[in-house]
């Protein structure tokens, strides 16, 4: 599997402020990678360094084999970027805005017109192609932004907070568009702080905190790593021995009694069948359900642990 984006020890400092610290990032060709973390955790700075729009203080980056600091034109020819709350020239139409992008990419006129028609149609904007962008809603501007990215037929698409400010329906639509990019074979780098929204489209994610990528892996791996169990099973049962019986089930990591008859079981595997068997043997099973915690919880739990550790040390 070839590597689309790779950074080694990438660091950016603004005076005393460390924006990005020793980032080692690796994106395989064709995957959707989510850079997740709160605002100010270094996501956008990383993106700007990958595009050669800001110079790293230390470390190196390679995008499709090119060095963004020294060969930014080569990188930018092949990488599409949708900035955080993208802006357009309001007094120009959607078509004219894309014409400018096409001209900056050096596309010949006929080719540009063909591609603009294609991307506008794909984004469902063909009916408003000749309306001024000033009249567009946030969701339409965001789709126009994606059209702008696709216009240059990039190999890598970098999307910064693509669903921010969209209503839930528009956000879902937009996520579906992002999935369609993956089907086209694009490598997608997604930055967002809306963890629950983007976890569904990412093959792998990296959690960012204060300029460092603190966790990396698939969503399942992170659940396993941070929450100990990737499965959370709710059990309602009567009986004295139930709690001990639950603890003895293979694969169970933690059992907590939430109130009266209900227990929360964290497990590495889906062991509902075994739980049911054992609870029935030792008492009375009233209810059994499973849920899978989202990334929000992974993130929150991780930093609870980190802060608890540092608090204990101090």
């Amino acid at each position: 599997m070839s590597v689309a984006v790779e950074t080694v020890g990438l660091t950016k400092r603004y005076g005393d402020l460390v924006a990005v610290q020793g980032l080692n990032l690796r994106l395989n060709t064709g995957e959707v990678f989510g850079m997740l973390g709160p605002n100010g955790s270094g996501k956008t700075t990383t993106i700007l360094m990958l595009l050669g729009l800001t110079e790293p203080t230390a470390g190196t980056a390679r995008v499709l084999g090119w060095d963004p600091t020294r060969q930014p034109l080569q990188v930018k020819r092949r990488v599409g970027y949708l900035p955080d709350s993208v802006g357009f020239y309001d007094e120009l139409t959607a078509w004219e805005n894309l014409r400018y992008t096409a001209a900056l990419n050096g596309l010949p006129s006929a080719e540009a017109n063909r591609r603009i028609g294609e991307v506008l149609e794909r984004m469902g904007l063909q009916d408003v192609a000749h309306r001024k962008v000033g009249t567009f809603s946030r969701g339409m501007k965001q789709r126009l932004g994606l059209a702008d990215v696709l216009l240059k037929q990039p190999q890598v698409a970098i999307l910064d907070e693509p669903t921010l400010g969209l209503d839930p329906e528009a956000a879902l639509e937009f996520l579906a568009l992002i999935r369609s990019l993956k089907r086209d074979g694009l490598t997608v780098l997604l930055a967002s702080h809306l963890l629950h929204q983007v976890q569904s489209v990412c093959d792998r994610v990296g959690l960012f905190h204060r300029g460092r990528m603190v966790l990396e892996g698939t969503v399942d791996e992170l659940r396993e790593q941070v929450l100990g169990g990737a499965y959370r099973i709710h059990v309602q049962a009567r009986g004295v021995e139930v709690e001990r019986a639950l603890r003895e089930v293979p694969g169970v990591v933690r059992v907590t009694r939430t109130d009266g008859d209900t227990y929360r079981v964290e497990a590495r595997v889906d062991c509902r069948a075994e739980i049911a068997r054992r609870v029935v043997a030792s008492g009375e099973l009233l209810a059994l359900s499973v849920d899978r915690p989202g990334l929000d919880e992974v993130y929150a739990r991780y930093f609870q642990q980190v802060e608890a550790d540092s608090g204990g040390a101090a």
């Binding site: 020294r70 034109l73 990488v79 020239y89």
Partner: protein, 330 residues
């Protein structure tokens, strides 16, 4: 610290690849189209056209009445004032800075406030192309406007006076055009510089207008005050007065308005022989009132003209450096 220095040194040595002017013409065309179709420029151009027609018409009326035989009748079209209207160049002196400031004041901070900068710079171009493209498009807009005005004035002259302009008059008129373009370039360069310094387009516009007011209204007063304070005429001697006048002129020439006014006077009035104080002894053998050849007039204003162009280049260079060092994120 030393490793950091070594690294930044290594980065400075490593050259970036690809032409800095990639995409330059795309930027120029886009900006030029914006300027020429924008309502802002249309208003100013209409205003300029109306003043041109008005002042030149008034000038033709008074030329027909007063001056019957002038070898440079055509140049009078530019400079003749008739109450209550000022001359065409007088009006231009006001309208050109205004137009030039309107072209540049939101060049850079406008891209930030519309949030288009990072999207545009993520296309395969360098920042060099963006800033130079904007500057060239502004200059081209000014040039188009000025040439149009010049043609209108000349056309009206032909029509009303019924005289074709002579070769030297055309040459002087064209040089006047170039000098006006340089003067306009200064105000556009200044407003673009402010658009890189200030985050708000309103702030950069107001600052540019304030600087223009300073030079247009207060600078000459300041020059007079300072020269009187530094070189007082205590005994009333010629040497003292000359020293004061020279200092005042020197100070006045820090203003682009003075430089432009001097250039225009010498170019459009061939009888002008000197732009500074002249002693009687220096006029020995001169036939007063006779026109100078074009080459000699050009020689008189060459320093002023060079200074105008140099200021444009300096302002652009400052904007360029500032913009290159700015973060893409606001």
């Amino acid at each position: 610290m030393s490793t950091e220095l070594a690294q930044s040194g290594a980065q400075a040595l490593a050259r970036r690849e690809g032409s800095p002017w990639t995409g330059l013409w795309a930027v120029v065309y886009k900006e030029l189209a914006d300027h020429l179709t924008g309502i802002r420029m249309q208003i100013l151009e209409t205003l300029m056209l109306l003043t041109a027609v008005g002042t030149v018409y008034a000038a033709t009326q008074s030329i027909r009445q007063t001056i019957g035989e002038d070898p440079f009748l055509f140049l009078r079209l530019f400079t003749t004032a008739r109450e209550p209207l000022p001359s065409f160049v007088g009006f231009l002196g006001f309208l050109i800075p205004l137009t030039a400031i309107a072209l540049g004041f939101d060049a850079i901070n406008g891209e930030y406030s519309r949030r288009t900068l990072s999207r545009v710079l993520s296309q395969p171009i360098y920042r060099d192309a963006l800033i130079l493209g904007k500057f060239l498009a502004g200059l081209a807009t000014l040039a188009i406007t000025l040439v149009a005005l010049w043609v209108v004035v000349t056309g009206m002259g032909l029509f009303v006076l019924g005289l074709p302009p002579g070769g030297e008059e055309v040459a002087r008129g064209l040089l006047f055009l170039v000098a006006t373009l340089a003067y306009a370039g200064i105000w556009m360069g200044l407003s673009m510089l402010f658009s890189a310094v200030f985050r708000q387009p309103a702030t950069s516009a107001m600052t540019a207008i304030a600087v223009w007011l300073l030079f247009a209204v207060f600078w000459d007063m300041l020059a007079a005050l300072i020269s009187q304070a530094l070189r007082p005429t205590q005994y009333g001697g010629v040497a003292e007065e000359l020293a004061q006048a020279r200092l005042q002129l020197l100070l006045a020439r820090f203003s682009p308005n003075t430089l432009y006014a001097e250039t225009v006077i010498a170019l459009l009035n061939p009888a002008v022989r000197s732009l500074g104080p002249v002693l009687i002894t220096q006029l020995e053998g001169a036939v007063l009132g006779t026109p100078l050849p074009l080459g000699q007039s050009l020689l008189i204003v060459w320093p002023q003209f060079t200074a105008l162009v140099a200021v444009v280049i300096l302002l652009f260079a400052a904007t360029y450096v500032l913009f290159q060092r700015q973060e893409v994120r606001a």
